[in-house]
C-alpha cells in the first residue's frame, strides 16, 4: 500500500520551493558551461535517504515542468523497488505523465544505466552519482584533488590504469571507468557499464549527474566528446559479449546482464528492460499521475 503523502497545499509543484529549484538550476547551468567540472551546490533534504539518488532526484524535481514526460530506471529496469518508488514520488508531486518509452521521455532519471534506445535533441538524462570525483580514490584531500583537476594533473589515475594492465593484461575496471570530457576534465560516469560510454559520446541528449550526498552536479552537454581513458597499445574496450544474446529478445547489441537460473547456469538478458520489451513488440502504457 502506498505510504501517505503530504496533502496538496503542503508543498509546491515538484515538491521543492523556487529557491531550491533556482539554486539547483544555476548549478546545472554552470555544469553545462564547463563540461566535466564538478559544481558544488546546496543539496537540501528530500524525502529519500542519502545514497538512494537524492542528487538525481533534486535535479529531476528542479527541471521538470508540466509538459515533461518522465521515465525512471534503476540498472536499466523500470520495475525495481527503487525505480517504482521514485516514479510514484515524482508522479504524485507533479501530476505529470510517466512513460516506459525512452524515445518519448523528455526527462529520464537513471541509476547505473544509459538507455539503449537512440536519444535525440531535447532529451535530458539524469544519472544518480555516488562518487563524483574520479580522483578521490587516490587523493583524500579535496584541496589537492581540486588542484589536480584544475591543472589537468591526472598522472595518478593513469598510473592506476597502467598497474591494472600490468596485473591483469588489460584495464580491469568495470564501473566508474574514468572518461576525459572534451580533452579537459576527467569525469566519473558513475557505475554505468563500459558498454554505455560510447552511448554518451557525442550524444544529442544532455547528460546531468547529481551527487546529493557529496553535493556536486556535473554535466556532459549534447554533442560533447567523451573519451574513456586508454593506452595506445591497451585501449578502452567495452565488455566482451561475444556469442551472448538476450534470451528474451535475441539482441546482441545491448548490454546484457546475467541472471542465475534454477539449473545453476547463467542466462543473459537485456539490462534495459523497456528496450527489450520494445524489441518483442510489447509496450506498457504510460501512467498519468495525479498530483497529491
Amino acid at each position: 500500500m502506498n505510504a501517505p503523502m503530504a496533502q496538496s497545499g503542503g508543498h509546491p509543484y515538484a515538491y521543492l520551493d523556487e529557491f531550491m529549484k533556482a539554486s539547483v538550476r544555476v548549478a546545472v547551468l554552470k555544469a553545462i558551461c564547463i563540461p566535466g567540472y564538478q559544481v558544488p551546490y546546496v543539496s537540501e533534504e528530500v524525502p529519500i535517504a542519502r545514497g538512494y539518488g537524492s542528487g538525481g532526484l533534486q535535479i529531476t524535481l528542479s527541471l521538470i515542468g508540466p509538459d515533461d514526460i518522465f521515465k525512471i530506471i534503476d540498472e536499466g529496469d523500470d520495475e525495481t523497488v527503487n525505480a517504482v518508488n521514485l516514479r510514484r514520488m515524482v508522479g504524485e508531486v507533479t501530476g505529470n505523465t510517466a512513460t516506459y518509452d525512452a524515445t518519448r521521455a523528455t526527462l529520464i532519471q537513471s541509476r547505473h544505466k544509459v538507455p539503449e534506445a537512440p536519444l535525440s535533441e531535447g532529451q535530458i538524462v539524469v544519472l544518480q552519482s555516488a562518487f563524483p570525483d574520479a580522483l578521490r580514490f587516490f587523493e583524500r584531500s579535496e584541496a589537492v584533488s581540486r588542484r589536480m583537476h584544475a591543472e589537468k594533473d591526472y598522472g595518478k589515475l593513469w598510473l592506476r590504469l597502467y598497474e591494472s594492465v600490468i596485473d591483469h593484461g588489460e584495464i580491469m575496471i568495470g564501473g566508474r571507468y574514468p572518461v576525459m570530457v572534451e580533452d579537459r576534465y576527467v569525469l566519473d560516469p558513475t557505475h554505468v557499464p563500459r558498454w554505455d560510454l560510447p552511448l554518451m559520446d557525442n550524444s544529442p541528449a544532455l547528460f546531468l549527474f547529481g551527487a546529493g550526498r557529496e553535493k556536486r552536479i556535473y554535466a556532459v552537454p549534447p554533442y560533447t566528446k567523451i573519451e574513456p581513458l586508454g593506452f595506445e597499445d591497451h585501449p578502452f574496450r567495452v565488455e566482451n559479449q561475444t556469442g551472448k544474446t538476450c534470451r528474451l529478445c535475441g539482441s546482441g547489441e545491448s548490454y546484457l546482464a546475467p541472471i542465475l537460473t534454477a539449473s545453476g547456469a547463467y542466462d543473459w538478458f537485456c539490462s534495459d528492460t523497456s528496450f527489450c520489451r520494445a524489441r518483442r513488440g510489447e509496450h506498457l502504457e504510460d501512467t498519468q499521475w495525479q498530483r497529491q
Binding site: 584544475a150 594533473d153 598522472g155 595518478k156 593513469w158 597502467y162 600490468i166 595506445e232
Partner: protein
Amino acid sequence: MATPVIRAAALSLRHGPGCRRCETQPDFDGNTCPDCGTVWSLRDVTFDVAPGEIFGIVGESGAGKSTLIDILDFALEPTGGAIHYDHWQGGVPRLHSATAQERRRLRNFEISVVHQNPRRNLMMGVSAGGNVVERMLAAGDRNIGRMRDAAGGMLDHMELQGRIDMRTDKLSAGMRQRVQIARALVNRPKVLLLDEPTTGLDLSVQARTLDLIRRVHRDLGLAVILVTHDWGVLRLLARRAIVLKSGRIVECGTVEQLIEDPQAAYTQLLVSSAL
C-alpha cells in the same frame, strides 16, 4: 664563458615582517633578528651553476640547504631575490613568476629533484616501474610497451634489474633511492637537484649510489645541484660549492679551495671536523 644554466640572485626567504636592522645591518649570529624576531631561512644567496657542472651546497643542519632545494623545486616561494633558469624564457624573468601550468611542465621535464627521504617523491604502494612510468604518463606518454621499455632500461641502469614490478615498499633504502633517481631522470631533465642523496645509507650502498650519480652525470651531461654535509661526497662529485650557515653564504670557491684553503672561520671549523 657559457651562460649559467641556473642563476640565483640575492635569494631570501624570511618569516616575519623584517625591520631596519635585519634588512640593512644583519650583524647577528643565527637566523633570527633580535630586534623583530624575523627568521631568515635564507638571506642574500647568490650563485650560479654552469651547464653540465655539479655544484655543491654544503653546511650543517638548519643552514638552509633544503630550503634552497625546496625553492628551486617550487615547493616554497622566495620572499626576496630571484632564480633565473636559462632554458625558461632565456633566463630573463624570475623563475617564480611562472604559472602553475608552466611550473608543472618545468618540474616534469626540466628540473627534477631527488630527496633525502624517498617517500617524498615515491608512491610506496606502487611498483618501482610504476613510479618511473608515472613521470612518463605525466609527460603525456600513452604507450605501455614503450614506457615499460624505457622504465626497464632506466632501472637496469640503476642496477635494479628485474625489479620493475616489485612494490616500492619492499625495496631496501638504497634501492628506493635509486628508484627515485631513475624517476627523476626518465624525462631527461636539464637540472637535477640532489638533497643529501646518500645520507643514511650503508657505506657500500653509498659508494654504489655515488658511482651511479657520477656515471649518470657524465652520460647525460646535466647540471646538478648537490646538497650535502659530507665533505667526502662533495669532493668526489662537485667542482664548485658554497658554504651555508644560518641561511647565508659564508664562503664560496672550488671544492679544492674550500677544503685546502678554507678562509672563513666557519669553513675552517667544518673542514677540520670532517673525518
